[in-house]
Symmetry: C2
Subunit: 406 residues, 2 copies
Amino acid sequence: MPRSVAAHRQAVVELLSGVLSKRDSIALPLLQALGTALAEDVHAPLSLPPFANSQMDGFAVRSADIPDGGAELRVAAPVPAGATPAALKPGYAAPIMTGAMMPEGADAVVPIEKATPDTFPDPAAVEAVVELPPVAPGTFVRDSGSDIAKGALALAAGTRMGPAQLGLLAALGMTTVNVRRPCRVLLITTGDEVVEPGEDLSVGKIFDSNGTLLEASMLQAGLDVVRTGISSDHPSTLLSVIRQYTGAAESGVDLILTTGGVSKGAYEVVRQAMADQPVEFLPVAMQPGGPQGLGTFDGVPFLGFPGNPVSCLVSFEMFLRPALSHVLGTPAPRPMLKAPLAESLTSPEGKHQVRRGTVDGKGTVRMEGGPGSHLVHAMARANALVQIPSDVTELAEGDEVEVWML
Amino acid sequence: MPRSVAAHRQAVVELLSGVLSKRDSIALPLLQALGTALAEDVHAPLSLPPFANSQMDGFAVRSADIPDGGAELRVAAPVPAGATPAALKPGYAAPIMTGAMMPEGADAVVPIEKATPDTFPDPAAVEAVVELPPVAPGTFVRDSGSDIAKGALALAAGTRMGPAQLGLLAALGMTTVNVRRPCRVLLITTGDEVVEPGEDLSVGKIFDSNGTLLEASMLQAGLDVVRTGISSDHPSTLLSVIRQYTGAAESGVDLILTTGGVSKGAYEVVRQAMADQPVEFLPVAMQPGGPQGLGTFDGVPFLGFPGNPVSCLVSFEMFLRPALSHVLGTPAPRPMLKAPLAESLTSPEGKHQVRRGTVDGKGTVRMEGGPGSHLVHAMARANALVQIPSDVTELAEGDEVEVWML
């Protein structure tokens, strides 16, 4: 009985867990860490804001100086952002700019538009006064540590480093961050029928699109990809190609990924090459991408995807990408949403079908091409994967399906 | 009256349209083109599949050779993928592998599991026979051009280059692709109060997080970022910093982006520096990120974002990113979805509020921190922007809101 999609995804998670949980971390400059996952908790080395500051352009005051009816206060020296102001004397109001440090003694800010006059006096003016309404203590003051207090947990280990997370680390004064080293994948496409794009295409051959498709998918997911040339359908060639890269102790290959040669035909090079390794070749109840290989090769985790381009993309998105998100914390999972179908469709019983579709501006999803796993042009028009569970055989126009946005 | 979010976004689109529509293209190797947009239509230089091939492991037959009751056929030489098979003689069935070229004369494939025996004979066996059921012409044959015909439009100008699109170009034998040159942005953070992360933080100063936040956002969006040092609050300093980069004809700067100094306070360096330029400073009915600058500086498109980090992120996501998607075709728009609120909230009348939130596994969204634009730690916990339209002032727990997934 074929394995379910969920069970195979879990098997990929388990395959990766052992290796990746032991991974070393690497210190990277903030911007180079974009898309990686934090190796360890980061605690705030300072409070944010580091000091109480004004939330508005206005007047910093001692709130007790202004009774219910308002008061006329003398205007102190203005406080621009970045300056260290003198303490505010009783009976004075200090012009203060957004973000500027609150003077000692001041406990509230009256916005400039509530002052009379509602413009700042010329800094050269002597003895200027301003009339201000009453204000509660703390008004328009951003207290020190109100975003985060010194020593508090800023980001937890495993957090994905996006613009906001890197911006926080910069605000905390950091220039580098310890992140989990990206997973290194050795990618090998196999098949006597495939030739590198740009070479001559003789009769019976096709250009290799799996290599480009999967390398691009993995780069987008933040992986470190080592790509070999195309391997022939001779098991000994494939074995020597793999060992050329994984043989060295310092190769750092975390995962070997092959395409093709995993089904039940007569010339299945990956199956043959893995005969002496603890690798299982099994059917997963999924269409496309049913035949899958999983195990270890010379102790290195191994996945064997089928050879059709659509099967490769679906295998990556359904198994490897979610497993990496789960184990490493990166990449981000694909956004999932429910969308009504623009058309009816059928699906084989007992197989989880993954169709390629386009979610339009109104949120409706229509199919791009049929279910065939060779339809790479149709796949290139799609912006989503449409998930049809294994127990569903027919869907009507308007029925809701789960889609994963690519 | 403040400008609406939609009107300001449209103004940014118009600002970028003139420059970007005239952009030169650049030929890049496929993988380097990931995330760019196609400069021109690509037509298929060959058909896909290039030749009729088998969709299954099985026997290629002349369907007319098998009557309703089935037939015993002689087994021809096997056809592996990548081989050029001999023509199929009448009365013969050729073992054929998935993806292998159909022999001349064969018009259908019987899957191996429907054959008797259901395994392929040893290729060395002489005079082997196989019993096969009847099959309709075309069964399990992928016709030449059934995915795309030679000369047909493969990808239209403006298409974003993701893994599937690059995989299609590889399948078509291409190794490079003409794409629109990424937009080059000159990024300048301003403020006497900000210092570079890693430097000494004296009293009243804060570390610059806007530079990291925006550079990371723009790198993630596929832009080419040129970053200056922090500019002081002296307009002459800011002018000389900008002209140092944009003065050279070959600088290639498409857009100048500043942070800070755009509101109505007394020390608004960007406003002051742009006094002689056709730049408008205006309030947008949005919170945070209300004060915005837009125009041209020495003829180069200019945008001025406010100085708080949350305002910068919101300004980028609400204005610049969608405008680039619209004008350049890349980056992809943020996925938008409807999510029920985990809590009630209020929003100021007449302002489109953008809150930071987290969409959880059940699809519910809860707020991260309050509306304050200095809350960078809260922002770093969010995975979505929550959109509260300007005419909405109160929402209850369970009400649906539009969220943009970050």
